[in-house]
Subunit: 237 residues, 2 copies
């Protein structure tokens, strides 16, 4: 990791979004508590997010047809309201809460870091979030993407290789000319298996300050950075 | 047109690109003359562009499988080099020239106009150009899109309804909440048939100063504007 320079210079940086770019945990906790001050925002955010992978697995197995994350979020929300005493939330409140995923706040280093990285790289999302969600989020938060790529473009969710290789194909590049930037080692490992370069970003409080995450380096990654400013330093931006 | 305000306020402006945002004619003429100063840049640009609709028709009829515009451009290029005395262009020169479509210059009002429109609307492309082409073009020209949408996302070329309705679906909007902005009445008519609002932009020299285009208003459009600055004025941006 970072001991010898990578053989090829990447020209596109593709960013995981939930957890890497935005702090979903505290944003969701805040939004539910805005509706119901007595709600356990921490546990609610974790429960909603925990439903995410199983829901995508139902799509990728074919049990559900192609379904956007907005709709998966809603299915999960409806399945957890009972356990959080929110069963009486109105339809309008449920729709509003479901759109909280469009209103997630970026980590404090993100806008400055992306702006620096954009000066030398094409920067795009590579998220399982749908295009509308990612665009609304970017507009609200000022995220300066060159392009919004999503599972919705490739009709496959990460870690399906079609997503990582899809970015290379969109830009007519070799996989090694694309770098995935993510706070999740499994996402990075899947990208590496497709030949992409990888940069791990530490987000120790992704699951909330009460649930610190292991952010140990994995030597298999091309880069390891504390945040986007450190990555920009490492990449000379 | 513009006599009574539209019943719904659009929240997304989707822009046609070739001809509406960028001046393909003079950019392509300049690029071929940079390679071969004696080439008839005007006629070459018109011939290349003239192959565009027939090539897309071959895809939409099923004669060709899904093919990106980059590849269609190359097929057309290879078919016209003989008539322009360019048959001896090397493979590298052909690749370079084909990428000229990624390097088209915007009309002079575009960057300022889009920046103003972006302050009140979500602005995206809706082009038959592929995502990589549109992203590279935007990065070079400083086009501040919130999102790059393309035929490549919808796997259909305009004027297929899947493209216009696809924009509404991406943003979870009614068709009337989306406005297509274009310099081509047929594109606008197809969008209108899908329920979108429409804004016509005059680009009288789209086909070169020697071939002025009819830019008469069509009362069926929601708006008619000389350029993006005038549209921003009309929309109060």
């Amino acid at each position: 990791m970072n001991s010898s320079p990578p053989p090829v210079r990447a020209s596109v940086l593709a960013f995981d979004v939930f957890g890497t770019v935005v702090d979903w945990h505290s944003s969701i906790a805040r939004e539910v508590q805005a509706l119901r001050p007595q709600a356990d925002g921490d546990a609610f955010a974790l429960a909603w997010r925990a439903g995410y992978r199983p829901a995508m697995a139902r799509v990728m197995s074919g049990e559900l047809g192609w379904t956007r994350i907005d709709d998966l979020h809603r299915i999960i929300l409806d399945s957890i309201v009972d356990q959080f005493g929110l069963a009486d939330l109105s339809e309008a409140d449920r729709q509003h809460l479901n759109r909280a995923w469009h209103r997630l706040d970026p980590w404090p280093d993100v806008v400055t870091g992306l702006t620096r990285l954009k000066s030398r790289y094409t920067i795009c999302t590579l998220s399982n979030g749908n295009i509308g969600l990612l665009t609304n989020m970017a507009k609200r938060a000022g995220l300066p993407w060159d392009c919004v790529l999503s599972a919705e473009v490739f009709r496959a969710y990460k870690p399906d290789p079609a997503t990582y290789l899809g970015v290379a194909r969109v830009f007519d590049l070799q996989p090694a000319q694309v770098m995935l930037v993510a706070a999740h080692q499994d996402d990075l490992a899947a990208a590496r298996d497709c030949g992409l370069q990888t940069a791990y970003i530490e987000r120790p409080t992704e699951f909330g300050a009460a649930h610190p995450k292991d952010v140990s380096p994995d030597a298999a990654n091309t880069w390891h950075a504390k945040n986007f400013l450190a990555l920009a330093d490492q990449l000379g931006c």
